[in-house]
């Protein structure tokens, strides 16, 4: 923490990025309890309020799956398989427990594969609904209360409404800091490269909220006054859209070919940071509404428009705003193979963005760099195409 205040934010981000989970491991050694979770649907406010260290799990795109396939089918989402493989290999052996939010079939149908294989002291499947109407918000509140109860039983401590409200404030502040950092990407050239930003995003999700906020602020202070050389060759400004892309490999492919990653709609990126939890008298209400209605994930059915066009705006309109605000020249839509939630909306997203005048490159791939060389040619050709 003190390091980041001394202007070493990027160095710290690099450290937590390359030694993922190392801070949680330290805190565990110091006596804290660590709960791992998957996906943007992990309600971090509640975990923070419970006094546990929450750690969003990631895999490693450079590592081949060597153990997980003995337990889990290869038709499962490649990201889920990779994280599971890492867990089976002991990369997360310091966890006290895990919460698996119901994001998709790949998680829902493998819940017992995870829990039976890892045998952690605490386990919870958070049955998040896929629709957003009024009864669903009520249901979301009910299942969040069940989640709170199980955490209380596990830690032996009551989670008060006041503690939740405080956690809401802390996480909202964390989101605001991250948005301020994102704002430094609006200039041309952006003050922070896409690869640097990715490291900050990954580091931020591995830390307790106060440390995460300090890290983000440290990075912002550090780069705010950066003098960027005016670009000689026009670098095209790219937005990356997808689920959990959590490695610099694909970003380096973009930036190595002269493109500039200036914005994202990723589940560890802007999706996490663009929408706050409203402070409501019952703090659970605001949390339920944020995860169900504000968070724009393909696993949440949104049908609120009066017609198809309006519904498209409700589903993807934020991407158009990003394109405008961050002066995006081209969008790369990166979807993992075997992903039904994203896969079924590829034609709609493409059409929506392209009809607004921004070209889209759609890539379907594994959660692995073994295929990166093939992606590079497509990315380079796309950059040449929009040059």
């Amino acid at each position: 923490m003190t390091q980041s205040e001394n202007g070493n934010g990027l160095v710290l981000a690099e450290k937590y990025y390359s030694q993922y989970g190392s801070r949680a491991r330290e805190l565990k050694a110091a006596g804290r309890k660590v709960i791992g979770y998957l996906t943007a649907l992990g309600p971090v406010e509640i975990m923070t309020a419970a006094g546990v260290v929450s750690l969003r799990l990631k895999g490693n795109v450079s590592e081949a799956i060597t153990k997980g396939d003995a337990y889990m089918e290869t038709i499962v989402c490649p990201f889920v398989r990779n994280v599971f493989d890492a867990a089976v290999k002991g990369r997360y052996d310091f966890l006290d427990g895990m919460v698996l939010p119901h994001q998709c079939d790949s998680i829902d149908r493998t819940d017992d594969v995870w829990s039976d294989t890892l045998k952690l002291p605490y386990w919870h499947f958070l049955n998040v609904p896929h629709v957003t109407d009024e009864p669903s918000v009520e249901f979301m509140k009910d299942i969040l209360r069940i989640f709170i109860q199980t955490l209380e039983e596990f830690t032996g401590e009551k989670i008060t409404d006041e503690a939740i409200a405080r956690a809401v404030t802390a996480h909202n502040e964390n989101r605001r800091f991250m948005r301020e950092l994102y704002a430094l990407r609006i200039t041309d050239p952006p003050l922070i490269s896409g690869a640097e930003m990715m490291k900050v995003l990954v580091a931020a999700m591995s830390l307790p909220v106060d440390e995460s906020s300090a890290l983000i602020k440290g990075v912002t202070d550090e780069i705010k006054h950066r003098e960027m050389p005016p670009s000689t060759e026009q670098g095209r400004r790219i937005m990356l859209v997808g689920d959990q892309v959590d490695d610099v490999a694909i970003i380096e492919a973009i930036e190595g070919a002269g493109g500039r990653l200036v914005m994202d709609d990723l589940s560890i990126g802007s999706k996490m940071y663009w929408n706050d939890v409203d402070a409501t008298p019952d703090p659970i209400q605001g949390i339920a509404e944020r995860y169900l209605r504000k968070l724009k994930l393909p696993t949440t059915f949104v049908g609120t428009g009066n017609n198809y066009q309006e519904t498209l705006e409700a589903r993807f309109g934020h991407m158009k705003q990003y394109i405008e605000e961050f002066k995006v020249d081209g969008v790369i839509l990166f979807v993992y193979k075997f992903c039904d939630p994203y896969g079924f909306e590829v034609p709609a997203i493409r059409n929506f963005i392209e009809s607004a005048g921004t070209p889209v490159l759609y890539l379907e791939d594994e959660y692995s760099i073994s295929t990166l060389a093939r992606l590079k040619t497509r990315i380079e050709a796309f950059l040449e195409m929009i040059a």
């Binding site: 009864p135 198809y308 034609p347």
Partner: protein
Amino acid sequence: MAEGKKPRSLATQAAAKIAKFVRGNMSATLKAKEEGKKVAYAYINDGQDEIMRAMDIVPAWGESFAGVCAAKRDAEKYLQKAEADNFSRSLCTYATCTIGFDMWREELGGQTPPDAPWGGMARPDMIIGSAQQLCDPRFKWPQATQHYLQDVPVFVGNMYYPPWDPNRNHHEQEAIYVKYAKAELLELVRFCEKHTGKKMDWDRLAGLVDLTEKTWNLFIDTYELRKAIPTPMDTGDAMNTMVPITFNLATQDAYDYYKDLNDELILKNEKKQGVIENEKYRLLWGAGLPSWFALGDFQYFNDKGAVFPAEVTYRNAEKIERLDLPATNDPLERIAWRWVRFWTHWYDKARKRPGSSPKVERIIEYIEDYKCDGVVFHSAFSCRSWHAGIIHQAEILRKVYGDIPILIMEGDIVDISSYNEVDTHNRIDAFIETVDAYKRKGN
């Protein structure tokens, strides 16, 4: 779905009638327009059958259409159509096959594409999806379809059930789930009222809930007749006889169909008439949707002296008394309780056997009740909902039940491009040899 390229000889008369049944369902959608009825794209086992039927909405089932295309080995043209608009080949092929058909029909200005299997399905007036915890495609597919049929309204409701957790008593959570499911069913009623311009006849709905419960009971009574040795009907037939309970629930036709099947099976049992003459091995179809283009593989098992007296797949019904449903007069609440309890009624039993799981408990129950010598699973690459977690089920089964021969076959439901008949038959041969060795060892 009996009309495969390699027609399988069906054991029962009833199964042979299914082709007509399926054809009837498809043509009902085409006739609906003349009869002034609305057509809805619908998805199986969503708990929405009684409501649709009570509102005279004619369901058009993509899963049935795609299954027919697959059985006729005529799905590729639709799969390619969807692929051409960037739907990945790894997505649910029921969905991509049907969407491909929809895209083609739109290109033809609403005319049914030429040579559509059994005349195809009508363009829907609405799409009724469900985010029920059955699979992701049933809440993604509706809007993916709407992308091509933009004027067609879409409804997606939710119906969950408490997740399995060996350390928690799920009964404590049931009320939350039932309340939610009931509220979502009411949302569906409102949607149907809006788009049909009719009011729900609640008495009629209650009558259809009665009929559905009666059908569930009769269905299970009928299937239990397959416990007989030799078994009078096996999974090869059941992949046909699943049609009425799956696609025609809440209709008198479905009930009558199982009455006929029941009579037929009783008669066969009296005459000790089995599926095959010399029944040597009894197998359980443990999980997985079949490869509709390769139903002939069941015949291959039969030719080796093996029969499947029971299957988990499409046995989506249970004896109502076993579900122990709380008394209520609200038909929506009855539907909600029935489904919540259906998905969770193996939990209590599973909790009693350390290390077990509800899915495995169900498998063990069938192995014991139907006296099975081995278990076959089928893993379809395009469907995660049914087929993720099968390796684990097999593992738990071995651990908590004991050593039993298990075969996991690989293929797909609709996409034939990765199916390898020679390889599949080789695996079956090896499996039968294993089952045979186990039997000898046991005797």
